[in-house]
Point group: C2
Chain length 459, copies 2
């Protein structure tokens, strides 16, 4: 394979493995795989392979490793940190994008235990549809459900809006099938709820961002379908107050399902840009979602809200209307400019000092910029958006991530490292940890085939 | 250090690190560390070191690795598979037992997020006492709480009776501090609920049985303290019936906390040996524990039990009396002989065929033996006990573990592999998985210092 895409030995081997129609070398056909959906991250590849099953994935990986090529695993390509597309240069090595989208099998749903085995290329929406007829549902939910694949969600340890109840993707995986760079197939899809027979490869691959293996199938643990849900918007006087209410909710409401927060600036932009005023007054709008089953949850919630203004709605248009004021924050901010988006987490007790220090830090790095804070407060996961500085100026990103680290936080709560955050990884991880990541990478992918230059292993 | 225990260079280095009183070379002082509490597993060591802090652990490991010695990490020594004591021979290498029992610090309890950092040598009971004053509690509970250490519980991914609600130890850990064999200290104790900045070292070490690193501290995630609990004993007609009721409970009772089962033989031996008859009739006694908060849980439970005989008791003597009939099964069986104990898990749908095939398999391997089945049905975790064959005759163990594997189960649900189960590990893990375990081991412990001959890496 040359820069011009002329056939060479690797190309013909890959073509033999997946068939001519699933080896894309034409620049027009490759283009969609060379850029992520934000258009911020892109890089050229020599070919895109679309294997049909685990055997083909193993053959592709073995051939690429033998040829010294780089493989970029790609699922739905909905990540936000450039982890699923090639880098601008891959050290002169040939670059193959491996799309998992043809790994689309959905196995029989085990109704007794609440599990199902799905191909890595199945989208979240496809899986949700498949389980809709059962008493179970998928525990993780997120906005990109129509495109995000289960394999990609495992590889990035996706979070979303229900982490308070069901945890991250790692907590919802009962086993994986994956292929190492040399073509070795690891398969542990029995989904046993208890199985202390070795290192937890599934947890290790979860969040490894395609740097250790290519996921081909996932045993998903499902969760019971909800009873009727209820959403409350509580007007809190400060971040301190919001954290206190969130903690009380976590302690008292077993049926809790989400705790989101929207700061005053974000409430204002939603009101102005979308004509959606906050339902009640309050510096911080705290959205609490829970399920109700005829028990005392609503009374408990009212007691927790105390004197604070509160709007409550059961499932249906009322609840959707409350959620809209959280869901559409991103859209409202986008009407004011191109935001710098920082997905960070901070220990809950550090949220008040972090948010108090934030305006001055932003102003120092980007005078006149607007800053919005919202996100999954129950998990300490805040989305900090800044509008003002040009997209490529990252002084404000740097300043905010340093403030996060100074408050004991993480520079990436749920998006991962990808290519975008490698330069800040040292703020969250020690040299000893980074060395250990490198050792694990070298053990499973000694040739450095898989996604070099992305994820937690620094180049 | 020689076989006679005479001082050599390593001994004097270790003495300098931990102080003379914490380096035990006298055979009388070593003896308690060379055998596990079951007395089934034992092996000699040259010395026991009792480091006081992480720095001392790092120095000890560095010195031992440099000297080519073997290190056996030991916590409360309450494991059941011989993973925390030396083997009968360690390949001619010097053997040092590293006791974590002096790593006893308990950090401040973070009431807001519900977390605390504890030294690896803190016992579960000590931690429970420390958090008793807060609105939080420890999510994992087990019988050995007075001796089992938090470090050991992480290293073995301990389970217990509340896994249905709170998961295994892995699910209750928010980060660890650990020392690699070369003395490198890895510390990630921030306890962030969301943190996608690298490979999940904590999950990898959880269940690694001391083969990859020595845990020195653990960030424990706590869970909300319970409301009033309630226990019900439902008389089920068969294993099939019991699995069906268990599934309904998992789907309908959000406040569920445990699902245990006791088969007819185990009910009978408890009645005969301890004069504790089952509270209601039924081939399988199904114990369901849940918390009640004034909601409809008890009505739901009654509906789930349907026409089956049921005894219900709120917290207090009535509940204890029901639990006793499950808790004391082990004790009752012990009055009839020395049992072969098999801690296995089987997919829930496979429990009826597995238990149906079991008597014939046991009879073929050990004619006339008695077999008892009980355990954590909600997790598919059964404790199969067999009385009859001599303790050292393992034909029946072999036959049962093969039946487990044939039913898609695990040869070790919650006890781990240790030294006892290595010969059967191939029944649960493929050659590719075993090779991958070995590669990970070689990456983190290239000299093979830590616990060789135990855990999931075969010699």
């Amino acid at each position: 394979m040359t820069a011009a895409g002329a056939p060479d030995e690797l190309t013909s081997v890959l073509r033999q493995i997946v068939g001519a129609e699933h080896l894309l070398t034409d620049p027009d056909l490759r283009a969609g795989y060379e850029v992520d959906w934000t258009r911020r991250f892109h890089g050229p590849c020599d070919a895109v392979v679309r294997p049909a099953d685990t055997g083909e994935v193993a053959a592709v990986l073995g051939a690429c490793t033998a040829a010294g090529a780089v493989v970029i695993p790609q699922g739905g390509n909905t990540g936000l940190v450039g982890g699923s597309v090639p880098g601008p240069a891959q050290g002169g090595r040939r670059v193959v994008v491996l799309s998992t989208r043809r790994l689309r099998a959905i196995g029989p749903i085990d109704d007794v235990v609440g599990q199902v085995t799905v191909g890595a290329g199945v989208t979240l929406a496809e899986l949700e549809e498949a389980v809709a007829v059962t008493p179970w549902r998928v525990g993780v939910d997120l906005g990109a459900r129509e495109s995000a694949t289960i394999g990609g969600m495992v590889a990035t340890n996706a979070g979303g809006t229900r982490v308070v109840r069901h945890g991250m993707m790692r907590d919802n995986v009962g086993g994986v099938e994956a292929v190492l760079a040399d073509g070795t197939v690891l398969s542990h899809l029995g989904g046993l709820l208890k199985d202390n027979t070795g290192y937890d490869i599934a947890s290790l691959l979860c969040g490894s961002e395609g740097t250790l293996a290519v996921l081909t199938a996932v045993r998903m643990r499902l969760v019971p379908k909800d009873d009727e849900r209820c959403v409350a918007w509580i007007g809190c006087g400060s971040w301190n107050d919001a954290v206190a209410v969130a903690t009380s909710c976590r302690l008292r409401l077993r049926s809790l399902d989400g705790i989101e927060a929207v700061d005053a600036a974000a409430q204002r932009v939603v009101a102005e840009a979308l004509q959606l005023s906050p339902p009640v007054e309050g510096t911080i709008g705290l959205l609490v979602a829970l399920t109700v089953d005829g028990g005392p949850q609503l009374d408990t919630l009212a007691a927790l809200a105390g004197e604070r203004p509160v709007a409550v709605a059961l499932d249906g248009p009322g609840a959707s209307s409350l959620w809209e004021r959280r869901d559409r924050v991103t859209e409202a901010i986008a009407t004011t400019g191109v935001p710098h988006k920082l997905d960070v987490s901070v220990p809950l007790p550090a949220i008040p000092p972090f948010t108090a220090a934030l305006p001055a830090v932003v102003t120092a790095a980007a005078p006149g910029a607007a800053v919005y804070v919202f996100g999954h407060l129950g998990d300490g996961n805040l989305h900090v958006n800044v509008v003002g500085p040009a997209p490529e100026e990252d002084a404000v990103d740097d300043a905010i991530l340093r403030l996060v680290a100074a408050n004991g936080g993480s520079i990436s709560a749920e998006h991962g490292i990808g290519r975008a955050k490698q330069r800040w990884l040292h703020l969250s991880r020690s040299p000893e940890e980074l060395r250990t990541f490198r050792a694990i990478k070298a053990a499973l992918d000694p040739a450095g085939t898989l996604n070099p230059g992305a994820g937690p292993v620094l180049p």
